[in-house]
Symmetry: C2
Subunit: 437 residues, 2 copies
Amino acid sequence: MMRKQGLSTLAIRMSGSMSGSYAEATTQRPQLVILGTGWGSYSVLRHIDKSMYDVVVVSPRNHFLFTPLLASTTVGTLEFRSVIEPVRDTIFRNAHHFHLAKAVSLDMANKIVKCQSTLSDNAYDISYDKLVIGVGAVANTFNIPGVEEHAIFLKEISDARKIRNRILANFEMALEPGIRTAEQKRLLSTVIVGGGPTGVEFGAELYDFVRQDVSRLYGEQAKQVNVTLIEASQILSMFDARLRKYAEKKIRERDRFNLLQAVVAEVRKDGVILKDGSEIPCGLVVWSTGIAQRKFTKALSVPKNKQEQILVDNYLRLTGDSTGDVYAIGDCSDIEGLHLPCTAQVAERQGRYLAGSLCKTPEKVSPFKFKNMGMLTYIGGYRALTDTPEAKLKGVMSWVLWRSAYLTRLGSWKLRLQVPMDWIKALFYGRDTSRFE
Amino acid sequence: MMRKQGLSTLAIRMSGSMSGSYAEATTQRPQLVILGTGWGSYSVLRHIDKSMYDVVVVSPRNHFLFTPLLASTTVGTLEFRSVIEPVRDTIFRNAHHFHLAKAVSLDMANKIVKCQSTLSDNAYDISYDKLVIGVGAVANTFNIPGVEEHAIFLKEISDARKIRNRILANFEMALEPGIRTAEQKRLLSTVIVGGGPTGVEFGAELYDFVRQDVSRLYGEQAKQVNVTLIEASQILSMFDARLRKYAEKKIRERDRFNLLQAVVAEVRKDGVILKDGSEIPCGLVVWSTGIAQRKFTKALSVPKNKQEQILVDNYLRLTGDSTGDVYAIGDCSDIEGLHLPCTAQVAERQGRYLAGSLCKTPEKVSPFKFKNMGMLTYIGGYRALTDTPEAKLKGVMSWVLWRSAYLTRLGSWKLRLQVPMDWIKALFYGRDTSRFE
């Protein structure tokens, strides 16, 4: 949303006033505590009626991340701040509170969340009248040795930043005088583990970067670039078979891009060991093989499913809670019997539904229903897949749809201005290869 | 420069070709080695006739930084990548080489630079026919205890990034429930040491950030914000007395902004100790008290001045070198008898002069002459100072001039598009307060 007060804010700014326009929350309204700032939680925050609740958001991340475009930031097609929204801006619009902290544990009897600052030693309690648990999930390592230490996940902006700096460092090192050929080859090899949308889209962005910028900027070394996508079963398994086959074919056609059906046994500093004992030397491993639950979720003593997701009813209330004041949404939760996929779409709908139902009298609230709007994924080379109940599309037109769809779904005009700007810059001037800590 | 081949590049990209357009340097031409990627060195790189030399650039930084706008990135008025140019783009235009490394030492007898990779253990020699030393300088700590450990300099993008993350962390911590008032006050206090243009401009940006965004986003805590600018003699000493007095007056008028004439004795983790024994508790110390020479420059056994700057003649050649093939420019050098100020302007002119004279026959080369174009500095609140031989301006019009002048001096159209975009975003949507590693 564009701040409608844009011009009046300008007027205030020019006048040099330092007085705050911040409305202190009154204690008249019930306190709604939201844990997390992902798709689900942010959606509650954006849509909640601010006159009904004092809203307190607790999250180790003070921004919302538009995850479908995260892969684009790993190579600089988009900049990091082009896909995030500072939560304080949203809080401001709702005149409420934010704390940069992790929820550590929950005392449901006394309605208290125990929090730990992510910046200091400060630990504190926050009491709630209503609680929304939307803490999300972490990457699943399947306890495979070396993953935590040597692989990079692709869940947060800091991950994307690590990947970008690693790629740029690898290219620079590969160009050092006197480097051995094997070491050069290793540095220019990337392994992606996991053939879901995240893995495929990172591969797609890497492909575009190599094709459009690397040969131009790094010369002969571009021919040594090698990317291997490892998937134990099949890539993009949730997509329509025809689209999936198309993606496989397109990826296989690419020079020095390999699709490998294999299982990873270990990740080392300088490569990946497969279950059959073979080794793939590489300079970067990106790990995206699905999700596992966070410590906080694991520690909760409430009914959960086999994947340790919190079980909720059709109203998104915890099944084990008699008060009816605790809700869970997104990747950390599972609607009993429904088992919806862990996607941004599901979380976002749940958040919006909850923002609505929290402001209605109980008898007016109807159960949550999910209508699948379909999936989009980018596969590189100006091609994407569109899989909706109505249509299955692939290719360049689908890519246009992919870009347009995400552009319109960005949460603010600031990003809707910046994202096309980034695309234009990448197209005409190439991606920025500056590396800094 | 806008890449003129924009559209044809697009055509190549769409065709999916991976073949490089990179021209390998021939060994026919003499090898010109440039150390550094700052104002001086980058200016040589941009203006050198590519048909005359094989150019090799060695620098621990693979981008050029537009330093006059660096302070703006500390609070998010501008984004980090809006004030830098990747050197590989420039190298590409000239079809030459870049190595991400530090020059360690110089063997002038054998015409060899010993280099150390900044990313790996790799050390290597690079031989030159002509050498340009433009390694710049580092911040001067005057051996005051604690500066290296606890203060942040403002010389590189990574410094600006550290400052931005520290400010945002301090604000978040100051809002933690149960925090003591003294600790809150400390976290919201910033000390700037050094009243030169860098210190003053950082203070200006901080002032704008506090006035325009902090009260809006952080509420009541904004009133605790406190900034102290410490200078031993007088601020902006190289500016015209009338402009300097105006800046002083404007800064002193500001609520909770203090100008302090004092000498720092020590910097601690939680504050600054002055020579008179008094203490200023603070959450951030930014140190900008002038320059000192780099290890490389210090280690060179060539004639230098008292400040350890390399002495050069009017043709920018090292005075102690009989071959006439080694040049030094910018902050690491001093033209004997002239003692020009260590500014971007001087370095840029020297670089451009050298790019020209390196391509002329010796008899056609005339000595370097510096014509001062004047100085600009931003003091916050939409006010700037303009000090040129022709005019002394101050206030809002000078601010308009400041913005316009720097916009036109940006090295590429990519930045000339992005910088106004950042200004517009900061104005209408506020500065981005997202914090990530």
